[in-house]
Symmetry: C2
Subunit: 324 residues, 2 copies
């Protein structure tokens, strides 16, 4: 059932031993939101722990320096942040799928799996809702949680460049700067520190971009071979998937990241196409302009299936001839 | 002489036929500031024209659709926006070098050439000062000038990602969004529309990045040959120069753009080095983290001279061995 900000704050005040759940393959928003909420609830005297099915990427480890696992913890409340559906809990879905008391989310596609849901599909990031909770729970915003909230906002909005950027998210960022949080350092870490190996890989994949549907669809393939050759892991490929959509005339930008036995697909679209609907055809989801899915098998199969579905939805009656 | 916001507003109110000057090779800030100021002064009943030594890059032409050259114009006031020194007037320096009544600028390095100067070195962009002038002159901010101001702020701050981003610039962006200005469309044009040819060129230059001083200095060369091969002109290379500095461990990012008989140099630095001081050694200038200069001759000479000066200032006692 959907609840208001005040009700969500009330729910959290009621808990004493609170588990915060992040989504699998944690990004800046689920991580920043969880760590900021950890600070707020700890400030209120709660025992709090954060759980995620996957390890925290190196990129975000600078945010967790003051996180401590509590001893003798008797969980009495479970809150999920930025987790739109049970499968996104990854290996934790067995244990927590039915046990989430409150979900705080900004995905309109939220599957409403939690007992209670505080949802704002218009928010730029879940971190925007965490900021509101600080105000509603009357916890003063200090530098550390402010930086965590900033990280959620900045990573989900491409540093306030994507179309999901809200006036509220910009004003929160202004407040975070005024608090004296090391935003410049965070931006360098988040957006401006690519390993030389990652840059070399980027040069390779950019050089091998493929264009289809009269240049309205661009496909970027990141093969296992390339990742091995440059010693780059998937964590370090953050952000690469936004590249194809940034090319003039491209409505659908596809990034195929080859895994051992499947391909991870990221889609980015302009208003001309619905990324979420296309990925839904493969059991994936996300937002209308940015979504993802997983397709079994190798990159050739994934490319073929994707191009067919993209054509069906975005370019009816057209053939995906490759442009030379 | 330096004057206050109110005095600058008073000065502008006093003019009737006002010429606005932009700096050579106009960027988003000088362009957006000039066009927003044009709107404000026109709203106040003035005759206004904008002059620049170089044509407006295609990238910014979407901002000037409502600009009209006035007929019978008898110039009685000259204001320069975002022009830090007379040479930056390009071909207009002969005509206007001594004739600038008011300069509105955010470069601390401003040479104080104008009769009066409204300067705030702490502002993210000149556009931030133009925003203040709207308030001071009591001109209501409407969608078009708001978008021009946004363009100045967003381009000078790397869409609010660079360390010069101010709380004020973020709040102005929030106000611009609330006014209903087509910010998402502007961001797509400004930051997310690279021609496929530009992307192919980017792949080439990324692949040929050179690292010096134990990886703390990265040099990117954009040769005439590459520009010709991919049919890309200098306008379309906007933003490329921020790439080398974004590489992990790089303190000094150098971009060398080969011209007919000289090289255009862009420097981006982390707090460990002063881009402005390094470029000043070659008669250039700019900001402490982002500066530029021109060096006569070919790229090899430019690279050698730059590496020597960079070493002298940022890596004393070290040799610029190239890292393989």
């Amino acid at each position: 059932m959907e609840i208001t900000l005040e009700q969500a704050a009330e729910q959290l005040r009621g808990g004493n031993h609170i588990t915060i759940l992040c989504h699998r393959k944690p990004d800046g928003d689920t991580t920043g939101s969880a760590l900021a909420l950890y600070d707020a609830l700890t400030e209120l005297g709660k025992k709090v722990r954060i759980r995620c099915s996957d390890p925290l990427p190196e990129l975000f480890q600078f945010l967790e320096e003051n996180y401590r696992e509590p001893e003798e913890f008797e969980e009495d409340f479970v809150v999920a942040v930025d987790v739109a559906s049970v499968p996104l809990l990854g290996d934790l879905q067995e244990e927590y799928g039915e046990k989430v008391d409150l979900c705080i989310d900004h995905h309109s596609s939220n599957s409403r799996y939690a007992r209670q849901l505080y949802l704002d599909g218009g928010a730029a990031a879940a971190a925007e809702l965490i900021y509101r909770l600080f105000k509603a729970m009357e916890v003063p915003l200090t530098v550390h949680p402010a930086l965590c909230i900033y990280t959620g906002l900045a990573t989900d909005t491409g540093c306030f460049c994507f179309s999901n950027t809200t006036p509220a998210s910009l004003r929160i960022a202004a407040e975070v700067l005024e608090l004296g949080a090391p935003v410049a350092d965070a931006n360098r870490r988040l957006f401006e520190s690519k390993k030389p190996s990652r840059v070399a890989l980027e040069a390779q994949v950019l050089g091998s971009l493929e264009y289809y549907y009269e240049g309205h669809c661009a496909v970027m393939l990141i093969s296992q071979e390339l990742k091995k050759r440059f010693g780059v892991n998937d964590d370090e490929l953050e952000g690469l998937s936004s590249i194809p959509r940034k090319i003039e005339g491209v409505w659908v930008g596809v990034t195929i990241r080859e895994q051992e036995d499947c391909c991870r697909i990221s889609l980015r679209t302009t208003p001309e196409a619905d990324a979420c609907a296309i990925c839904a055809a493969f059991g994936g989801g996300g937002h209308i302009r940015a979504a993802g899915c997983t397709i079994e098998g190798g990159p050739d199969r994934a490319r073929e299936l994707l191009l067919r579905e993209i054509g069906r939805q975005a370019f009816p009656g057209k053939q995906p001839e490759m442009d030379e």
